[in-house]
């Protein structure tokens, strides 16, 4: 039974099918949501994408997004339900574990109680800094109001799980010895082995989704690019695609191809940086230097061709802010073409370094079952047997015509992840060349007039699938923006890779995940 047939049969007193073409939209009572969500995921193999909550009047509207289907017939499924403020919503995360953090975030930022969720509170807004009952994403909350008496920071005492003589909790972060991002990891150990790991993030929560409310898209685009700078182009692109889907804008073909080429350039640079970090985490200094040299070259290339090393200010609603000149495109073509051979040689040398492989093999394993349960995305997912890649699953921009060869590993360990990074970096370089060889002439920007409505844009960002959902009012002002990011999804599963490892493996597993904290914290 196809997804569409399945959808057509579930209509009943509790579930209404609003739309079944060009995306599927369902509406149901809150009570029917968990069973329906579980059937979509368990029976139809759908992936949970993101949960969007809107506060409208005295109600909350919850939109659960999934995607799934067979072969070329893949669809985004939007399941909407409505509850009054103060009412409970049954949690879906005991059946759909991937939605766990989405529900925790919605509870913390909207004060919606998810009935049956085992672990609510102290998530985005740390209890040491904020009293309970603050709900910044409700529409009557003034985001510009600063907290009086901030920064007194009470002492947070983590819950301990391990009860053994001599066991201790080893905190890593939020200020690190090295140059890692702010985040706290509590490692519980009886001596050497990490038995329990607890990830505490949102030290970097900047409230970007809230402060974008009331802004025009051109201002909010600055935030979309800057909340996670090393995936700026991907997130900016998803944000613009959401706007374009609301206004029904057809982006010119040349812009579609250039966007795709730049998204792949970003992926290539991101993966080069991750490879450098992995090499560095095992103290392989020369290999780290090679990775950093490649990263720096690609940053310089981006700066030379687009004016910005991290590709800020290039994408725009309706296409690109401006066309790239012929010289820049030729540079992009020649530099990326030369990269594939270097990556081959680099990987070959790493594969011959047994001391390096010893640190990665069977290290930080995420089994395919775990990856599926946590809905792990991106390179980490593809190293654990998941074929999920939005570029092929829900192709956007020029990906319908320019398909990357998928990476697929099943071991789920650090080495499998390293192979995926190399494979995807090479594929990115090959794709850039193919795109630039087929670049049509023409304009690079179409008018993207604001229209009232809501829309979803998605990209396969370097770290995995990103979903940006926007509601825009009749003046073109943003009323709600939700960024579902790969960091948010994958950090959720990170502690499972760490548990059972030895202490000195923690930085290696961290590096092999290649995630951004800023992308998670927003």
């Amino acid at each position: 039974m196809t997804l569409k047939d399945f959808i057509s049969r579930i209509a009943g007193p509790e579930v209404r099918v609003l739309q079944s073409e060009a995306g599927i939209r369902l509406e149901s009572t809150p009570a029917a949501v968990p069973a329906l969500a579980a059937r979509l995921v368990e029976e139809k193999g759908c992936e949970f994408a993101t949960l969007v909550v809107e506060h409208q009047g005295d109600d909350f509207e919850l939109h659960y997004f999934f995607h799934g289907g067979e072969g070329n017939a893949t669809h985004v499924v939007q399941l909407t339900t409505r509850v009054a403020v103060g009412d409970q919503v049954p949690a879906i995360s005991d059946r759909v574990h991937a939605a766990d953090w989405d529900e925790r975030e919605a509870e913390d930022l909207f004060e919606i109680h998810f009935a049956g969720h085992p672990f609510l509170g102290d998530f985005v807004l740390h209890d040491t800094e904020w009293r309970e009952g603050v709900a910044p994403l409700r529409h009557d909350f003034d985001p510009r109001q600063q907290r009086p008496n901030g920064g007194r920071g009470g002492t947070w005492v983590p819950r301990r799980v391990l009860d053994e003589p001599g066991s201790l909790v080893f905190p890593v972060g939020p200020v690190w010895g090295g140059d890692s991002e702010a985040g706290l990891w509590l490692l519980e150990t009886p001596g050497e082995e990490i038995r329990q790991a607890h990830t505490r993030l949102f030290y970097k929560h900047r409230g970007v989704e809230k402060i974008a409310e009331g802004q025009y898209p051109e201002s909010a685009l600055l935030l979309a690019e800057r909340f996670s700078g090393n995936s700026a182009f991907g997130h900016g692109l998803a944000f613009c695609q959401a706007l374009e889907s609301i206004s029904g804008t057809a982006v010119p073909p040349r812009a579609l191809l250039v966007r795709t080429a730049l998204a792949e350039l970003e992926r290539l640079r991101y993966h080069a940086a991750v490879i450098a970090e992995i090499a560095g985490s095992t103290a392989l200094a020369v290999a780290k230097a090679w990775g950093q040299e490649l990263e720096e070259e690609l940053l310089r290339l981006s700066g030379e061709v687009c004016g910005h090393r991290y590709l800020f200010g290039v994408v725009a609603p309706g296409g690109l802010a401006r066309d790239l000149d012929a010289g820049g495109l030729a540079r992009l073509r020649s530099v990326t073409a030369a990269v594939t051979e270097r990556l081959d040689r680099f990987e070959h040398l790493l594969e011959r370094s047994s001391s390096f492989l010893d640190r990665l093999e069977e290290m930080g394993t995420i089994t395919p079952e775990l990856a599926r349960s946590y809905g792990v995305v991106g390179p980490v997912g593809r190293a654990s047997g998941s074929s999920m890649d939005l570029r092929t699953r829900l192709p956007y921009a020029a990906y319908p015509d320019f398909t990357p060869r998928p990476a697929l590993e099943t071991e789920g360990d650090g080495y499998a992840r390293l192979r995926v990074y190399f494979h995807e970096a090479r594929e990115a370089a090959i794709l850039v060349a193919a795109l630039l060889d087929n670049l049509p002439e023409g304009p690079v920007r179409a008018a993207c007039e604001p229209l009232a409505g809501a829309g979803l844009g998605w990209v396969e960002a370097p770290a995995g699938s990103a979903f940006h959902w926007l509601r825009v009012d009749e003046k073109g002002v943003i009323r709600r923006w939700r960024a579902g990011t790969p960091g948010f999804r994958n950090w959720h599963a990170f502690h499972r890779a760490v548990e059972g490892a030895a202490f000195q493996d923690f930085p290696i597993i961290l590096a092999s995940f290649g995630l951004s904290v800023a992308e998670n914290d927003r």
Partner: protein, 240 residues
């Protein structure tokens, strides 16, 4: 077994010649907008979303402490951009450079107070071979107790406010604070909000400002050299 040491040696030195030599490789800096006099400034300051450009009677002035490199004023009909990177400047309350005994070597502690990853990515590259921070006798240290300079990125989120203060308090005197990126200077695109303090100087004293979004590695190094008393300050304000 791969012979990494030999491979590394065979690759030779890949480090920039700056500051002894001029560094003009394309892409080492995103550049920055320059001021224009009234006679040749048809540009519209309204394109700037962060009010870094200001129209005055004499032309267009630039407050580079606000520029986030959105590039909307770049190109035809805009203002001229300069490809420099020696951007660091003293803050208004700056204590100046460290005493003379620190000229040859300083230790730096890096702190992420909510950076987007852009500043962090650039800060990670300052001791990469292309820039090689160590040739200046500048080292990144793991603890604030050994640090002479605190290098901070990000708009200071509420949750990082206390760690930032505690880190600063743990540093011995004399100490200096270098803030990198427009976010750390004034909150940048995140501004002041329920979640953001909007600049490091609201929590601890700041000595040196390195503007940019993000500042490229050479601009960060310029800021650190300024702290060591080994470079000249630039000016964030450009008048026509």
């Amino acid at each position: 077994m791969a012979d990494w040491v030999l491979k590394g040696l065979a690759r030779g030195i890949r480090t920039t010649g700056w500051p002894a030599r001029v560094e003009e490789t394309p892409g080492v800096t995103p550049g920055r907008p320059g001021a224009v006099s009234r006679d040749d400034s048809p540009a519209d300051v309204g394109v700037c979303p962060t009010h870094a450009l200001e129209q005055s009677a004499r032309g267009i002035a630039v407050d580079f402490g606000r520029c986030v490199h959105c590039q909307r004023c770049r190109g035809e009909g805009g203002v001229p951009w300069q490809d420099d990177f020696e951007w660091a400047d003293w803050s208004t309350q700056s204590r100046g450079p460290l005493p003379a005994s620190f000229r040859r070597s300083i230790n730096v502690r890096y702190l992420d107070a909510g950076s987007c990853g852009g500043c962090m990515g650039e800060a990670r590259l300052i001791d990469a071979p292309s820039y090689n921070l160590h040739r200046f006798g500048i080292f990144l240290t793991a603890t604030p107790r050994d640090a002479d300079v605190l290098l901070v990125a990000g708009p200071v989120t509420e949750a990082m406010r206390t760690p930032l203060r505690l880190t600063y308090e743990a540093m011995p005197e004399p100490r200096r604070v270098v803030v990198m990126g427009v976010c750390a200077i004034n909150g940048g695109v995140f501004g002041q909000s329920y979640a953001c303090v909007g600049g490091v100087d609201a929590v601890i004293p700041v000595d040196i400002l390195v503007p940019g979004c993000p500042p490229p590695p050479l601009a960060i190094i310029h800021g650190l050299l300024l702290a060591a008393g080994r470079a000249e300050a630039a000016s964030l304000e450009r008048a026509p």
